[in-house]
Amino acid sequence: MIHQTRRFYIPAFLAILLVCALSALWKAPELRPPLSTDKLAGCPGIVLWAWERPEDLQYLDPNRAGVAFLACTVHMRGVDVIPRPRLQPLKLPPAAYRIAVVRIESDRLSPPALSSRQLKAVSRAIIEVARSPFVRAVQVDFDAKQGERKFYRALLYDIHRQLPPAVGLSLTALASWCTGDCWLAGLPVDEVVPMLFRMGADREHVLVQLQSGRGFAPTPGLVAVGVATDEPETGEALASSSTGILDRIRRIYVFSPKRWSAEAVTATLAEVQQWQQRL
């Protein structure tokens, strides 16, 4: 929260208004129609990630949780783009809210060229997974290093332009992108999902943010967070945060490092709902 003495207030306010207006005008051509409607409105407050392994979630109550399943992994190697769709079966209840996740990976031996041709190819692969009567949203998942950010920003704009209007666009994000390193600002996405697990050296910083109530920096459409079943303390930190950080969070994604089982799902739903009730 920024505070100011009264004598600075009016000119600064007018200046901010002017900057906002100019900024809006400047960015207008990049954006598709305003993200005024919540395209993920029908999505339950809990979403289970179903990663690439055989998963049977038929027992899931679709009113309690949705499923974000890894639908495709796009591998970028040198100048090539190699999409590989999900090769493991996924079973789920017919009415489950379904989000197709596309993970983008870079080859370590032949780092990607990040060319415009690659951008188009990656974009095409992502649009392809949305070509389904059952997929309500697409979630894009990548680990962008500093030098790759320009590519990924352009990619998200390209995807956004091509997605059918009814399909939501979700983006996973490193927690640090939403705390100190806010390069996501202005992106045309319906949801950003900071991943509050496997944070490595960032973990301490992020937990400090959560516990101190600083919360996340403004990001486009921030309404969700991601946690993991084997790091329950992060959820606890969320639930016990002193200020209104969680007020804006409508959805919690849960990752399991192991194959889901009915028991694990029941326990997870109960725990997450407990956190949510404490909001």
């Binding site: 050296a201 790091e231 192991k258």
Partner: protein, 771 residues
């Protein structure tokens, strides 16, 4: 056109795409450097050193492909150069993210097709087919690139026979386009909101057509049904072709019958074992028939796949035997790939960075699978935990006296095990040149120290660590040093073994413990050179368990140098100031000046200050001007930004939670991080450390503490020229440092005091907001 000739690799590819379980490719991770002192998932990079026999300290958490390599060396069957190359190529593929990603392109077919005039643009060919319904989702590689290149070859042959512009060729291409349309299957039409229908199938050739054209068309129709997933129909059609003596496809058709049955058996929602049994019968029939065909290698690979599904335990047994014999590079890589794939499918993938332990429970493999071969039994036991596993390992060692089993038994042994004495006796016989020497002595030292024989453990560890001629990967050295540090008899000894060079500095963005420049690192022959630092355990001991008197000894020790020394000296100095020990702070001031020259002007003022309050303000002012100063040392690579600069990732002016006893000081990467007091501490020193920690914890969040001190000093010392700057910095700290619900009030107080008392100062002009 379905495959005309198949290389053996195709079946492996089929295995790959059908059975591949991807790495748990996690999306999350920091992009800040992170120090790993002991790799847990795999040996140190470059892996060529491990594969060539420098196996170091073997961890049960290693992926099984590494445990296989270790086993070969431990049981005296080292990999030869060719085998090393085969294993390395597999490991490189896995670690470079390349595994399972083939550049599949219909290019060869499209190029050949282009040569034919008057046939229009080709339809799009997508080789994967997705099967999706309201309750189901999966995909598979439907059309193999080889099928497309074989179609190109066939087209060229037909051009030669019928002529480039002949109607026969045009009809053949049109039919083939209809075959490949079924690779991807019907798409979903967004505009009309409905799935398109399955594309049309080729029609039978006219009755008066050339016999070759008729045979080709029958084959195209069967192939189209195969790709469209109409397996019963395709099976009948390929069976008919197999019986047609005039068809050029007669030879391959029986093989395609088997492939059709395999797909029928594996691509449904449930495994259809009866179809797989039929496929097995078909393939065995082809392989044992009196007239071998050129498709026999492909048949053997497909049979492997079928048996993979039907009899995984037997396959595991066969592969484990194959892995212990001599093989070519490709064959060894292929066997190891299949072997570990069966393991992963059966008990889970241990390449996860966060092993839960559950995957390592004994019995995860079926008993028959585990006992099917010594390699499998050893890996299973080595990755297990608990008394049952130990007893099994001990029994195996007793009956074999083999080094792998000694290591398994030692690893699983607790000092309370009555049998551990026997193991220690055996450990003493292991020679330094043995591949298992470091692993044996890592665990033997643990047992010795836990059973009261610390002197022997110390002596042995010192002997090993002093041996410069012994190949010792950084992870092994660090693990042994950590063990030796636990046996330290005084703070100097503790420090001697606590300053370690990380095995790896990485952003570890996917938790796979790999260097960011893997492409370069894997080509190197040397392990990466890293700067010394403290690992997580050492950091916790230094920050939480040592009294100031010992911390001062550490800060002034000549065992420290560079960034680590600067971090330690500043931490001890700040701690001394905060807990009111001006004596220690004074004694360390010269050292701090030496390691951090930019602090000299501040420290001169600190030294000149006469009263306790004056000294504290001088210190507070310096800390405010240096957001990286804090009363604790940093783990690994330390703070990512120089001490005097604001860190972009909020690592400025400490948080209450990061102080000794605070919640953030106890956890990292989701793991419990609690340590005991070092044994060398006296009771008085423990009490002293506890008391100092309490006082430090009471200081709380830095920006709040600092702002309070500055506001109090500013109120009493309005004329002090340092005050405007200190007030401005106090406000800045409330923005960029840690905060809580009281921060805003303190920020406002400092802000208002600055603007009220020093409105014309540059610091007031620079400070436009409170936070």
């Amino acid at each position: 056109m379905a495959a005309k000739t198949l290389k053996p690799s195709i079946a492996i590819s089929l295995l790959t795409v059908l059975l591949l379980q991807a790495l748990p490719a996690l999306s999350c991770g920091p992009f800040l450097d992170y120090a790993i002192f002991v790799n847990q998932i795999h040996p140190d990079v470059p892996l060529s050193r491990f594969v060539s026999g420098e196996i170091g300290l073997i961890q049960p958490t290693y992926a099984r492909s590494y445990l296989f390599v270790a086993y070969r060396y431990l049981c005296g069957k080292p990999l030869n150069k060719d085998e090393q190359a085969g294993v390395l190529s597999l490991l490189d593929k896995r670690l470079s993210n390349s595994e399972g990603y083939q550049n599949l392109s219909p290019g060869a077919w499209l190029d050949a097709r282009k040569a034919v005039p008057g046939i229009g643009q080709p339809p799009e060919v997508n080789l994967y087919r997705t099967v999706e319904g309201p309750d189901y989702y999966s995909s598979y590689l439907n059309c193999y690139p080889e099928a497309l290149s074989n179609a190109a070859s066939t087209l060229n042959e037909r051009i030669k026979k019928f002529g480039l512009s002949s109607q026969a060729v045009k009809d053949w291409v049109a039919a083939q386009d209809l075959v490949f349309c079924h690779c991807a299957g019907p798409r979903y039409n967004w505009q009309e909101k409905k799935a398109e229908t399955e594309p049309p199938f080729p029609q039978p050739a006219p009755s008066g057509a050339d016999p070759l054209t008729r045979a080709d068309r029958a084959y195209q129709i069967a192939s189209a049904h195969f790709y469209a997933g109409q397996f019963d129909l395709a099976e009948r059609e390929f069976t008919t072709i197999a019986a047609d003596n005039d068809s050029p496809w007669k030879e391959i058709a029986p093989y395609l019958v088997a492939r059709t049955l395999v797909r029928k058996g594996t691509l449904g929602k449930e495994l259809d074992r009866s179809a797989l049994v039929l496929a097995e019968k078909q393939l065995n029939g082809m392989l044992t028939s009196g007239s071998p065909t050129r498709f026999q290698p492909a048949c053997r690979e497909l049979l492997k796949l079928v048996r993979f599904w039907l009899y995984p335990d037997e396959m595991l047994n066969e592969l484990s035997k194959a892995l212990l014999g001599r093989q070519s590079a490709d064959d060894l890589a292929s066997s190891l790939y299949d072997y570990t794939l069966i393991w992963d499918r059966t008990v889970g993938d241990t390449r996860s960075a966060w092993p839960t332990g559950e995957q390592h429970k004994p019995g995860a493999l079926s008993e028959s699978a585990r006992q099917s071969g010594d390699l499998t039994d050893w890996i299973s036991t080595f990755q297990s935990s608990g008394d049952l596993a130990f007893k099994h390992a001990f029994a195996r060692w007793e009956s074999t006296h083999a080094l792998p089993w000694l290591i398994a038994a030692l690893t699983l042994s607790a000092p309370t095990d009555q049998l551990s004495g026997k193991l220690l006796e055996e450990a003493r016989k292991v020679q330094p040149l043995s591949a298992g020497y470091l692993t044996v002595w890592y665990h033997a030292s643990r047992l010795l120290s836990q059973s009261g024989k610390q002197d022997e453990a110390r002596k042995k560890l010192d002997q090993i660590l002093a041996n410069k001629s012994m190949p010792m990967p950084p992870s092994a050295r660090n693990a042994l040093m950590a063990q030796r540090a636990c046996l330290a008899r005084n703070v100097n000894e503790f420090l001697q073994y606590s300053v370690r060079r990380p095995a790896l500095i990485t952003t570890d963005s996917d938790g796979n413990e790999l260097p960011d420049n893997y492409d370069v690192a894997t080509q190197s022959k040397a392990f990466p050179a890293t700067k010394p630092g403290f690992d997580d355990r050492t950091t916790l001991i230094v920050n939480q368990k040592l009294p100031l008197s010992l911390l001062k000894q550490i800060a002034t020790s000549n065992l420290l140098s560079g960034d680590l020394k600067r971090d330690v000296v500043q931490a001890v100095w700040v701690r001394a100031v905060l807990i009111g020990n001006d004596t220690v702070a004074g004694e360390l001031t010269a050292a701090l000046k030496g390691v951090a020259p930019p602090l000299v002007p501040f420290l001169n003022l600190y030294q000149k200050a006469e009263s306790r309050a004056d000294k504290l303000f001088a210190a507070v002012h310096m800390i405010l001007a240096n957001p990286g100063m804090r009363p604790f040392v940093s783990e690994g690579v330390g703070r990512h930004t120089v001490m005097s600069k604001i860190d972009d990732y909020q690592d400025n002016w400490w948080c209450a939670g990061a102080l000794p006893g605070g919640p953030l000081a106890e956890d990292s990467r989701g793991q419990e991080r609690k340590v005991d007091y070092p044994a060398f501490l006296s009771a008085q020193e423990r009490t002293q450390a506890q008391d100092e920690n309490k006082r430090l914890l009471a200081i709380g969040t830095a920006p709040n503490f600092l702002a309070r001190q500055v506001v109090a000093w500013a109120t009493e010392h309005r004329q002090d020229a340092r005050v405007p700057e200190a007030l401005s910095l106090a406000v800045k700290a409330t923005r960029f440092g840690c905060s809580d619900s009281t921060t805003t009030q303190l920020s406002k107080q400092a802000f208002q005091l600055l603007h009220k008392n020093y409105p014309a100062s540059p610091w007031a002009k620079r400070t436009k907001y409170w936070y």
